[in-house]
């Protein structure tokens, strides 16, 4: 039987350009993602939780606003007004108050739910800004760093400043900035943002440096491909994966840091529902009325755990090394000792 040597240039090209081709192409891309999700139950749990939490947060935040605009009066998704004092003091969890009440009669469940959009938005937003700012700076510092050029000088400045910021333990710096900027939601957001951007600089720069000298980039440059094209096609594409993983894990860390600032007492004002302030307010009641402390604590725990499970699993999915380990058996692999340049925590 003769061999079939089929050229893939002719007939398949038109198929690819059609919509059906695009959809199946997308499905091909997603297939490994879906397969690993199914194989990795923890990551799936994390993913589902993330979706649930995000949707809830969006609803809790937007429904009052939208109903206000449309109907004239807001409809709260929380069972009670989070700031509504009632006469049900210090009750344990019950059907009437799902997570109990505190000594002023405030419904804990409503408070926890109201705090969700704030804390989640802080996590996603601040980490996102840090990603963009730090990532941009890191890209510059990594890519245009030839000495004795303008780019080199800028890179050097970026690196020195980043090194200084990285010498601070993150919480200490965030607390110091927050204290100096005064109490309030926006100042503490700023404090976290100013603390966070340097980590993305270091991460991005590390990845850029690793990619810059790879053979295929050098080959592209030698073939005359423009720098901009190299940047977008090769460098950025390699950046997306580690940055995405780091970002997902970072959301949790940012939420924790922000709530710590509130816990210490220099964060959001008391009337704003926030998980950290709640823990601090009810701290001494742990033994007598545990639900007051444990409810916001559990809320943080579950939220951060969800993002961590998802991000941690994402790391396993996207890291070609760990994917390969699950398949290879007997073929010799890379040389030992080529330690990961971006050895992140």
């Amino acid at each position: 039987m003769a061999n079939e040597t089929r050229s893939s240039l002719g007939g398949d090209a038109t198929a690819e350009r059609s919509l059906r081709g695009k959809v199946s192409h997308l499905r091909e891309l997603l297939r490994p993602f879906i397969r690993v999700l199914r194989a990795n139950p923890l990551t799936l749990v994390g993913f589902i939780l993330v979706v649930i939490i995000s949707v809830t947060a969006v609803l809790v935040a937007l429904v009052p606003v939208i109903t206000q605009l449309v109907l004239g009066h807001p409809i709260l998704l929380t069972p009670y007004d989070p700031n509504g004092i009632s006469t049900d003091y210090s009750q344990g969890p019950s059907l009437k108050h799902l997570l109990g009440t505190d000594k002023l009669g405030l419904d804990i469940f409503s408070r926890v739910l109201t705090a969700l959009p704030l804390d989640l938005a802080i996590g996603v937003g601040i980490a996102g800004f840090a990603l963009l700012a730090g990532g941009g700076l890191g890209l510059v510092a990594g890519y245009w760093d030839k000495p004795r050029t303008i780019g080199g000088a800028i890179s050097a400045v970026i690196l020195r400043v980043t090194d200084v910021f990285l010498a601070f333990p993150s919480l200490v710096l965030a607390l110091a900035i927050a204290a100096s900027l005064g109490r309030g939601t926006v100042p503490s957001m700023l404090a976290v943002l100013l603390t966070w951007w340097p980590y993305y600089v270091r991460l991005t720069r590390g990845e850029v440096l690793a990619v810059k000298h790879r053979p295929y980039v050098v080959a592209a440059r030698a073939a005359g491909v423009s720098e901009v094209r190299i940047l977008f096609r090769h460098v950025l594409r390699n950046l997306i994966e580690p940055l995405l993983v780091y970002y997902t894990l970072d959301i949790g860390t940012v939420i924790i840091t922000f709530s710590t600032i509130s816990f210490v007492g220099i964060g959001v004002p008391l009337e704003v529902s926030e998980w950290g302030t709640m823990v601090e307010a009810y701290e001494q009641l742990l033994l007598t009325h545990p639900w007051t402390v444990l409810a916001p604590g559990a809320a943080i725990f579950i939220t951060v755990l969800a993002f961590s499970l998802f991000g941690d699993g994402l790391r396993d999915i996207l890291d070609p090394r760990s994917r390969r380990t699950l398949v290879q058996a007997v073929a010799p692999t890379t040389l030992p000792g080529q330690v990961a340049v971006s050895a992140e925590a």
Binding site: N3, R35, L326, V327, Q328, A329, P332
Partner: protein, 377 residues
């Protein structure tokens, strides 16, 4: 009839990868008698590395799966052994040397420590201080019992103990053996390299040390998985010469895996040809290479660029080796075979049986038309 050192019967191994199931080995049977060298030749993707790793059970079990078959080493059923007994099988029982000498030695430890470790294991077992499956000191003395009773093995500590401290006394006790084995592999002045790290030595040197380490355990069976493929050609020649000389001096049976027909021709007594996970031919090496009785073997031999012929293009085989996830039905070679007929496409494919049209009884071929191979052009 002497009991074979190694008997593989109808071994089938599969890999579960995300994209499909790879049939790395299908119904492979090999027999290795004491003191003999059996070569396994095959291209990349033929499954020869899988075979090498399956025998001492080095395959990682989750992706790999031994579907069926039996592996018997000196009468002991390897596949039946519990996991904790596997270390007892290796070292003094089965030894192995690998392809890339850079990776095969631990980069964090000095040469002396690594070779001494192998020597220490053997000495502990010889002295009875560590459990072993084969208490007989001489590998080929089958007059004594070969298997330790389970109860006896359980009485000894499971972990093989090692020199606890790098004490002076220990070092001296092992030093002589280490030097002896390094000299055995023709390293002159082995004292000079004892304190060096693997990355400070050349590839050829590292491979010799690997051989020394493997031999210092005095294994009954040595599996060599492409030991010279990663070396420069001159170093390759040196290491091969060394191995040939050692085969005279040391009474170890060898299973030699390679893709290089020339090396197999030099080193092996018998050869098995692997194609797409199937053993398609087996027999004495001179016989198989002079009178191949399987189309694949014949075409493979013909495609070796032996001389710089002026007449026309190199006679390469048409097509390419099938992916192990997609092995053709019936005879795996039939899509590329000039002798292929209807019978070849039907499951099950041809089995290894004595080749037709040859006087050598031990020459086996898995082809229905092995008598026509001689007349193939």
């Amino acid at each position: 009839m002497v009991e074979p050192v190694l008997e593989v019967q109808d071994l089938s191994v599969e890999y579960e990868a995300g994209t499909g199931t790879f049939h790395a080995l299908t119904g492979v049977s090999v027999r290795l008698d004491p003191g003999r060298v059996v070569g396994i030749v095959g291209e990349t993707g033929s499954g020869k590395s899988t075979l090498a790793h399956a025998i001492p059970r080095l395959l990682p079990e989750p992706p790999a799966r031994i579907v069926s078959g039996r592996i018997a080493f000196r009468g002991v059923d390897v596949l039946d052994l519990p996991k904790w007994k596997l270390p007892l099988l290796r070292g003094t029982g089965i030894g192995m040397i690998f392809q890339e000498p850079i990776n095969s030695l631990n980069p964090a430890y000095r040469i002396f420590d690594q070779v001494a470790e192998a020597v220490a294991v053997r000495k502990l077992r010889d002295a009875g201080e560590a459990p072993t499956l084969f208490p007989a000191p001489e590998p080929h003395d089958y007059s004594k019992g070969t298997t330790v009773k389970t109860g006896e093995a359980l009485l000894h500590p499971i972990a093989t103990t090692l020199p606890r401290r790098r004490s002076r006394a220990r070092r001296e006790a092992l030093m002589q053996d280490v030097l002896d084995y390094l000299k055995l592999v023709r390293i002159n002045d082995p004292e000079t390299i004892l304190d060096l790290y693997p990355h400070e030595l050349s590839g050829g040197m590292r491979q010799r040390i690997m051989i020394a380490m493997a031999l210092s355990a005095k294994p009954s069976l040595l599996i060599a998985d492409e030991p010279t493929s990663a070396l420069d050609i001159t170093i390759q020649a040196q290491v091969l010469t060394l191995m040939k000389e050692l085969m005279e001096e040391v009474q170890t049976s060898i299973l030699f895996i390679s893709h290089d027909l020339g090396i197999i021709a030099e080193m092996a007594d018998e050869v098995g040809v692997l194609y797409a996970g199937h053993l398609v031919e087996f027999g004495p090496v001179e016989e198989v290479f002079a009178n191949p009785r399987h189309p694949y073997t014949k075409l493979l031999l013909r495609s070796v660029p032996a001389q710089y012929k002026e007449d026309g293009p190199l006679p390469a085989l048409s097509g390419s080796v099938p992916s192990l996830a997609d092995v053709p039905r019936g005879c795996p070679f039939h899509p590329r075979c000039p002798l292929a007929r209807d019978a070849c496409t039907r499951d099950p494919g041809p089995m290894l049986e004595p080749a037709k049209d040859t006087s050598v009884r031990t020459h086996l071929s898995a082809c229905y038309y092995s008598d026509e191979v001689g007349r193939m052009t």
